[in-house]
């Protein structure tokens, strides 16, 4: 197994005071707490930081760790020194999810349970594009999970899971997958997996619940006279009738073209084309004259 440099994990020097170690831990715990952090590997980093503090924040464990010597490098192949006895038990941190390195130094942090033990729950974030959400194709998720070994020990591993997004779920909501958390011990039930769904912002579409919004640019004569336009929706192109006399900002609804039964709303943006030719300029002038006359006659 590999040596873990807990000082490096907390970004402090060997010999740093207890207080400074606590400060470093608190700062990093806040930075990587999965509920607060926006870092991509927050969950794994939070665990590493917690484990480092479990050791360096505890005088006895820190002393034992320091006694290994300062010459070890992060990732170096490690074996507990001969005569090493696991004299440690109990955990302030309250999780059994430590690395093999930690367990070889300090023993298993959990008493062997007598009866069935339920597996722990897991938390994950699933970030999807709007198109993935619409298509609802299974998405592969990689989790830092526990595996139950034959001797009843837990070992960390990367668990890969295909997740189907449940219909009707919205951005920011969570869903629970029963029994997809960590495995139970001694025949106990597995824990659950809680997944928070996040939908990445899309350049074309805005999402409001299960309704989709987009802007479509039309020419002024189309808005005045009405006509048909082509609208891009999540399900493909759809033709939409624009009623005569539409204004900029008018909202038109495409029923059932949003997400899971929601609608697609199109907001019209009228774009006035700049005249390029003299003929076009002349027609604009004519339009202006007619408009003036119409206004004067009112």
């Amino acid at each position: 197994m590999e040596y873990t440099d807990y000082y490096k994990t907390l970004g402090v020097e060997r010999g740093t005071s207890k207080e400074d170690i606590k400060h470093a831990y608190r700062r990093l715990a806040r930075k990587y707490h999965p509920d607060v952090s926006t870092e991509p590997d927050a969950e794994a980093r939070f665990k590493e930081v917690g484990e480092a503090y479990e050791v360096l924040g505890d005088e006895e464990k820190r002393e034992a760790y320091d006694n290994l010597g300062a010459n070890w490098q992060e990732g170096q192949n490690f074996r507990a020194p001969p005569g090493w006895e696991q004299q440690f038990s109990g955990s302030r941190f309250g999780t059994e999810d430590f690395s093999d390195f930690f367990e070889s130094m300090f023993g298993r942090q959990r008493q062997a349970p007598r009866g069935p033990q339920q597996g722990s729950d897991q938390q994950a974030t699933l970030e999807v594009t709007l198109h993935q959400l619409y298509a609802r194709e299974p998405i592969e998720l990689t989790l830092d999970a526990q595996k139950l070994m034959e001797d009843g020990r837990y070992q960390r591993h990367k668990k890969r899971l295909k997740v189907t997004i449940p219909p009707g779920i919205e951005h920011g909501q969570s869903f629970r997958l029963k029994g997809q958390g960590n495995p139970g011990g001694n025949g106990g039930q597995p824990g659950d997996l809680f997944i928070e769904l996040r939908v990445r912002p899309d350049p074309k579409f805005r999402l409001e619940g299960s309704d989709v919004h987009s802007d479509v640019t039309v020419a002024p004569w189309l808005a005045v006279l009405g006509g048909e336009i082509n609208v891009i929706t999540l399900g493909g192109n759809v033709s939409l009738k624009v009623p005569a006399g539409s204004k900029s900002g008018s909202r038109l609804r495409l029923k059932g073209r949003g997400l899971s039964g929601g609608d697609h709303y199109v907001t019209l943006q009228i774009d006035v084309p700049q005249p390029v030719t003299e003929a076009q300029r002349r027609l604009y002038r004519e339009l202006a004259n007619l408009q003036e006359k119409a206004d004067a006659g009112r």
Partner: protein
Amino acid sequence: MREDDVQILNERVTFSLRQVCQTCRVDRAFVHELVAEGIIQPREERDAEWYFDGVSLVRIRKAYRLHYELDVNLPGVALALELLDRLEGKSRG
């Protein structure tokens, strides 16, 4: 994965206090404290038992983690959740 093993935790689903405690693995006293702090609100009270929606259930789990993993007291948890909501742009008004 069976369909009925998947549950969306939104406003449309309801859990009794007993179910909440079981699902979130917290005790009743903790849920009572969160209600007292205004972090969650029971949706209704039936037969002297509180019922919560799925959004509250997710909030309880988050509050529990912040409280125990970051050692934040409950007023601090309330503040953190409120600010997280604001960042998300889903202010509860």
